[in-house]
Symmetry: C2
Subunit: 327 residues, 2 copies
């Protein structure tokens, strides 16, 4: 009999999408970064993400890192839809024997992170469970016409990304292989206290030029593939244009890792990968720069299908996978 | 060092309430049945509930019962606020080795249950975890002025309840003690395929007469205490007026159980316990009856504090506890 691990995540999501059909007032159901429901002439956006003890956190991860990441993960999904957050609710499962201090730290970090983004933890549920399980739901709103999905990219659009890629994956590698941390503060921070691109998503939604968006949680390659498939366009990316942090470059060189593993297949950077109409690119770039947000055009959408990468050695099809050693 | 099981659920919720302070546009934060955020002149209501494998389900519970209950649990919390559902999102954790058929059944029952209440499962997240974990969030809206909370009961109000109480608790008892099921279909159904009082909650919210509401999930006594504490009123209930199903009565008699254990301290009936202004009671009663919904006045709110019960033996203070043998 087929078991879940044989099916894999993509087949399971497809199964859920087929079973959970939607109708009005639902605009986007199972399968995008978040669900979208029409409400009084705007869109309500809701997203849920579950983080599970040993699966999502290396042993010994402090409560405050768990809480922070749980909030960022959910807000990042809202950002990818262009939505402004209204609040978050959390269901938390804790094993017997969990220290009260752990719960206090977890709640405090959730609250601080929500406040950092101008929003609140508004409700929750606490339960006994085998692992630590943190299941969050964030909700927010976006004006109609501003909604960003994975399916709006068109041939001719610019492909762009905020911030720098591969940082969190290099950070995890460093932790898991117990490599020296000195000089790699950015890698640790990206992993332990990531940033959600909330204001950036709201800006893109309002700009009127962004056509699709997704947050980089599975790795750039995997996330490019999701936009390519959902938007039915071919995406061609220039490796030399992808923003790579000097710390990632040095870390890879020092330890003999392939930098591209982190940059193309490393997840959890929570940067926004998006497409923009060519005639709006300069405005979008200027608008984000004025807000001190780094943004890079890394390629373009053309007619066709698939994801391709241009390097010094030529153009090749990018494999549709995330960072395999990530966990 | 203090551990979570020593603190108990109530202290943990109080801790969360203290840490997660809220401000505008949040109207109700941590601590009620659901969170409430103002949005365009109405209230958005969101609630989250986590069901965990062995804690919430006896061994061998079929996937379709789990899925159904997960949806009902969340919709019932919306109902208790008077909100009309807009959709549900679910994060599901599954152990390695879970059969694909289990997932299919789970998703189908979630979808069927949501459709039964005119709403949809609009998004989700699937993960690997140690236990089966089903964490749902339901959201909906309620007109301003219609919102029902636990804190609105006033001296003079009628205390009322929909349906019949103790049915689910008797059903669990029957299952756990492997007692004969013949003639007790209602008990099984109440436990395996419970009903959320969604239309009833919406009706009460719109009636303009309901002052407070909660869904009976912890047991009538515990839920009365919650309204009493939050509304700062004394609640006096007449045992003879509490609607008890003849099947519960017979089940208790046949097996020598104390019927009151099920009725007063049994949880998960998902009925609505609410208070109504005395001058609106007849209208509310007629409105619900016209919709074929059983409703019973069981007592009244008076000045003071605490929860009291009147039986043939006199009036006594009701203990603030749920059904201890429930799980």
């Amino acid at each position: 009999m087929v078991e879940v691990q044989d099916l894999g995540e993509r087949a399971l999501i497809e199964l859920a999408r087929r079973i959970c059909k939607v109708g009005p007032p639902v605009k986007v159901g199972v399968g995008d970064d978040a669900a979208v429901v029409e409400i009084d002439g705007k869109y309500l956006v809701a997203t849920t993400d579950m983080l599970v003890g040993h699966t999502h956190f290396p042993m010994g991860t402090p409560a405050k890192e768990m809480g922070w990441k749980a909030v960022v993960t959910n807000l990042s999904d809202l950002a990818a839809m262009g939505a402004e957050p209204l609040g978050l609710v959390f269901s938390v499962g804790l094993p017997r024997g969990t220290k009260a201090d752990f719960v206090r730290e977890l709640l405090r970090s959730m609250n601080s992170c929500a406040r950092r983004y101008g929003t609140y933890v508004v409700g929750g549920d606490l339960n006994e469970s085998g692992d630590v399980v943190i299941s969050g739901t964030a909700f927010g709103t976006v004006p109609k016409g501003g909604l960003l999905t994975r399916s709006g990219a068109r041939a001719g659009d610019i492909v762009a990304v905020t911030g720098e890629l591969g940082v969190a994956a290099a950070g995890v590698k460093m932790l898991l292989e117990k490599l020296p941390k000195r000089g790699y503060g950015k890698l640790l921070e990206a992993y332990a206290k990531p940033t959600a691109r909330v204001r950036e998503g709201v800006f893109l939604a309002r700009s009127g030029y962004a056509t699709a968006a997704i947050d980089v949680t599975d790795g750039l390659a995997a996330n490019l593939w999701q936009i390519s498939r959902m938007s039915k366009v071919k995406l061609v990316v220039d490796y030399s244009k992808i923003p790579v942090s000097p710390q990632v470059r040095k870390f890879a060189r020092d330890h003999g890792f392939d930098e591209r593993e982190f940059v193309l297949f490393g997840g959890e950077d929570f940067e926004l990968l998006f497409t923009v109409r060519r005639d709006g690119w300069e405005k979008v770039k200027r608008g984000l720069s004025r807000r001190h947000i780094k943004v890079s055009a890394i390629g373009e959408a053309v007619r066709g299908q698939g994801v391709y990468i241009r390097t010094e050695e030529g153009i090749e099809k990018m494999p549709d996978r995330g960072y395999e050693h990530f966990r």
